[in-house]
Assembly symmetry: C2
Homo-oligomer: 228 residues x 2
């Protein structure tokens, strides 16, 4: 059967779609370039025209996931009617809404990402997310510091600190999901709530904000997320 | 010549000793399993009885280094003549001293660990280090909070936050080493100094300590480390 001629953009997108599906279904380590080639129904030559290696494909999957996540959040971060603290809170609220909307997919993603065979995938997505978020957070902190709304004399370093702390939220969400799936919903919700409150406190104190000004979480969020 | 019969513990320790020496002398990449086998004077079969791969051997080397570090640091953390803040500072001072003493080995270790092909290994060592450090830091924070020396109502969560931030120090040290090796020692030292100061500030603010009470770094440390 003759292969259908497709534009490079379409072909490249299809390869990333296939790779994403296979990575999450079977794990990154257990997916080969040949699996992707078969699933996408392209020739080996065509594949290597777009991606030099499985790692390059991983990079593309990670970057696209990060970009999708961030496009929506960036709009919130740029709302001109909000001050810097309002923008940070809008980011957290948006992130909570996304988490609830995408809870079933997120649960699968977490379960896939935290498998030992996916450490490389997880790290790459992390790095892509951090790289994409850094300028957004840095700009909020820069503006907030200039306006005297918060204290971050070195906004880029401060943004890196906040993003580093944020990594632990994903770890905690995964732990809470495991606990909840093992039957202890109450314990899991309490752990996640407590972790997110401490994360909020850490941000407030680090940026010298009044207690209660950062709303990382809201009452009932952890339970709703775990049950969604 | 007949091989001398040795106990499994002795043999395994000798292999790790040899690997450590060779990794640090020639670099991880340029050391083969055959080099280790030759240096340790064991058969190939004997080697693979103890370690399934070169990566397993590197993990053993790094884990042992981490354990050694922690043993010494634990003594500092338990010094009864110090209050909680003094114990945290003793940990940082001890960690700086170890870093300077072991700078050449550390540089090789970082260079090996931050290679893309070592992400899995890096992640595992990180986890081992975090798990081992958590009870030490938790206990310091618990005692400090009870004595009113610092504010950490949930000491274990607070300790996890501090350890999460600490992970970024290793990342930054590696970035600074790369920059320094590329010829920009001044830029590298400035970046590492600034990062460590911000890390100290983050800890002070998070634990509600007076400014300047946490001494993560000291003047000239970054440059001395990078040049060591």
């Amino acid at each position: 059967m003759a292969r259908i001629k497709k534009s490079p953009e379409v072909r490249s997108k299809e390869l990333i779609d296939c790779a994403e599906r296979l990575f999450f279904q079977h794990g990154y380590e257990d997916t080969t370039v040949n699996d992707v080639i078969r699933e996408a129904d392209v020739s080996k030559g065509a594949f290597y025209h777009y991606f030099v290696s499985k790692e390059a494909l991983l990079e593309a999957v990670a970057t696209r996931l990060a970009k999708r996540n961030l496009e929506e959040l960036q709009l919130l971060a740029e709302d001109p009617s909000l001050d810097a603290v309002g923008q940070l809170n809008a980011l957290f609220a948006g992130s909570r809404r996304l988490k609830l909307e995408m809870a079933p997919q997120l649960k699968n993603t977490f379960n896939a990402l935290f498998k030992p065979e996916n450490v490389v995938l997880y790290h790459r997505i992390d790095e892509a997310l951090q790289a994409a978020s850094l300028p957004i957070i840095t700009e909020i902190l820069r503006r907030g510091h200039a306006q005297g709304a918060l204290d971050a004399p070195d906004p880029e370093t401060a943004a890196m600190m906040l993003l580093q702390l944020r990594l632990s939220v994903a770890k905690m969400m995964h732990k809470a999901l495991q606990l909840s799936e093992a039957g202890d919903l109450d314990g899991a919700a309490a752990m996640l709530d407590s972790w997110m409150r401490t994360y909020g406190t850490a941000i407030e104190r680090f940026l010298k904000l009044p207690e209660g000004s950062i709303e990382v979480t809201e009452p009932g969020f952890a339970r709703t997320f775990l049950q969604a």
